[in-house]
């Protein structure tokens, strides 16, 4: 098993573990028990059942998670009472980029922004240089605002891309995936709805 395959399967196992952990915590199960059961799921997802391991099955459905997703899942497992100051800007950025990116990337229009992620100069230097400049700007904003989680996702995705740690050679696949995009959209909508319908206490 090569490294990209291991990271691909490990990312899916991490997703399953974190999902179970979230469910257990919401059911008021103790954190220690939740960690043990989630760890068990992580290990069991590598065990073949009827010819397939659970992570192979879900990898067939989801493909590999991005480095951003893996970092966010790890952050959530290490720090279940996650800081909103760290997660909210990241989720907002993912939602905005995803809304602009996915429709065009799956064929709604003549321009394919996914192709920009190969960072080649087949169509000139402007697009790849703009891509790098935007990443540098986001990193700068993250360090000024002390958004460590966002900064970690940007930096480790860039490094993983250079090391070809996923099967893809496209930078987008390291920065973003539909699972975290969907999660970002859901959490933002849920937060807005919560704010809208929550009853304000009288002064």
């Amino acid at each position: 098993m090569n490294l990209p395959t291991l990271i691909g399967l490990g990312g899916i196992s991490l997703l399953l573990s974190a999902t179970l952990f979230k469910i257990l915590i919401s059911l008021k199960i103790s954190k220690q028990t939740a960690y043990i059961l989630s760890g068990l799921i992580f290990i069991l997802s590598f065990v073949p059942i009827s010819g397939y391991t659970v992570n192979q099955y879900f990898r067939g459905l989801f493909n590999d998670l991005s480095i951003t997703s893996i970092i966010v899942l790890g952050y959530y497992l290490i720090n279940p009472e996650r800081s909103k100051n760290q997660t909210q800007p990241l989720m907002l950025l993912i939602a905005i980029v995803g809304i602009l990116f996915y429709p065009a990337a799956i064929g709604f229009g003549p321009i394919d922004p996914y192709a920009w992620g190969y960072l080649n100069q087949d169509h000139g230097l402007f697009i790849p240089l703009l891509f790098l400049a935007l990443l540098a700007a986001l990193m700068t904003m993250a360090v000024i605002k002390r958004y460590t989680l966002l900064l970690s996702c940007l930096v480790f995705s860039s490094i993983a891309y250079q090391l070809n740690l996923l099967e893809s050679l496209n930078l987008w696949d390291y920065l973003l995936d539909p699972i975290i995009f969907l999660y970002a959209i859901i959490t933002i909508i849920a937060r807005r709805l919560w704010a809208l319908f929550s009853v304000k206490k009288p002064i």
Binding site: N63, G109, I111, Y118, L119, N120, L151, V155, Q162
Partner: protein
């Protein structure tokens, strides 16, 4: 402190990326076949035409043949076969045609759902279209479709390679070609080659829209670029005719409202940009097509169903002016059963020209067999009526 360290590492990593981008080689031009290596066989040779079956009925259904030349003008063909399209027992089969004996060997199963699952470490539900080509490293590169979830819209592409002329094959690797769960990339057309040792794989998408692209791969078989040919919901299965190092004509199957015509577009900068899609004058029921630029003459050869409604014929057309005009040359198959019997269908053609100038046409014959027709340019350009098809 941690943030500053991360920021420094991040900027350094972006600088390395910048250096890599600036030092990239310019994109390659189209790699045209070397005419000197071709036998001078075509127009002056006596016309030949004969036909055979590449598959021998080991599976109930077969579909989507592809083929490549081996040593000695032999050819190796691949197709998918099983109980029916989409069934879990569908596998990729192969067979070899020997030019000396003019006979096919015994077909054998090459790739299964199980072997693809093991090599790609993913759940695999079904297999689909194969496409074969000679890779930039001179190996045989066999691409094929697999689906993990849903119908063909959920397809992904896999690649396996052989460096001993098809005797043994590498483990399959998954190509990542789409940002949305890597869903919906399919193949049918013949790959093209570039002067920078990259390969262009014509692909199409069927998830939400239907449109064509070219996926570029490096010598290691890794996807390094994508070029969109069309967008929307009406074009699929692109084929490319290279007409010079910088120019090419693309054609696509049309999936829209009548009148049903083959779609066409062109490039004059080696495929970096393509003109908008237009309807050609060639009718087609929205079925698979295939094209070939003949190596000696540069004549374009197209195999397609020449009917707006049905797949009841297999027709060959040629163009001597890089696709501006087309001449219907031969109808090599047509339904001989009375209307409305539609049990005879001919579809998904594949064309190949071997080094001796011989042209091979393979296509799905009633879904039960892979038909193989062998002819040369003299026969193709011969002005006569429908040839008598000789089948084994």
């Amino acid at each position: 402190m941690i943030n500053k360290l991360l920021f420094s590492v991040g900027l350094l990593s972006l600088l390395v990326l910048l250096w890599q981008i600036v030092n990239q080689a310019p994109p390659g031009r189209f790699l045209m076949p070397d005419k000197e290596k071709m036998a001078k066989a075509s127009h002056s040779a006596p016309p030949i035409f004969y036909s055979d079956f590449a598959s021998h009925g080991s599976t109930h259904e077969v579909h989507s043949a592809t083929a490549i030349e081996l040593d000695g003008n032999n050819i190796m063909a691949f197709w998918y076969g099983g109980t029916r399209e989409g069934h879990k027992d569908v596998s990729i089969y192969s067979n070899i045609w020997h030019s000396k004996t003019r006979k096919w060997g015994q077909e054998s199963r090459l790739i299964s759902r199980q072997s693809t699952k093991e090599s790609t470490a993913r759940y695999i539900r079904k297999l689909g279209n194969p496409v074969v080509t000679r890779g930039p490293d001179n190996g045989i590169w066999l691409f094929y479709v697999s689906v993990s979830v849903g119908g063909w819209a959920g397809s992904s592409i896999n690649l396996t390679r052989s460096y001993d002329e098809g005797k043994t094959w590498s483990e399959s690797k998954r190509l990542i070609t789409s940002p949305f769960l890597n869903l919906s990339t399919l193949i049918k057309g013949t790959p093209i080659h570039y002067s920078d040792n990259t390969l262009g794989l014509p692909v199409y998408h069927e998830f939400l829209g239907k449109f064509g692209e070219i996926v570029k791969l490096n010598e290691s078989g890794e996807v390094i670029d994508k070029i969109r040919l069309s967008w929307g919901k009406t074009s699929l299965q692109p084929i490319i005719f290279m007409t010079s190092a910088d120019t090419a004509l693309a054609m696509m199957r049309y999936h829209g409202k009548p009148p049903r015509r083959i779609l066409t577009q062109s490039t004059n900068n080696a495929g970096l940009n393509w003109s908008s899609v237009q309807k050609s004058s060639l009718v087609n029921p929205g079925a698979g097509i295939i094209g070939l630029t003949l190596k000696n003459s540069g004549q374009l050869l197209l195999a397609f169903n020449n009917d707006e409604q049905e797949r009841e014929d297999m027709t060959l057309a040629t163009s001597d002016d890089n696709g501006q005009t087309w001449e219907i040359r031969k109808t090599v198959e047509e339904n001989r059963l009375p209307v409305p019997d539609k049990s005879q269908q001919f579809s998904y053609p594949w064309l190949l020209q071997t080094r001796d100038g011989t042209i091979h046409l393979l296509f799905t014959w009633h879904r039960s067999h892979i038909k193989h027709m062998i002819f040369n340019a003299s026969w193709l350009n011969q002005d006569d009526s429908l040839p008598e098809v000789i089948s084994r």
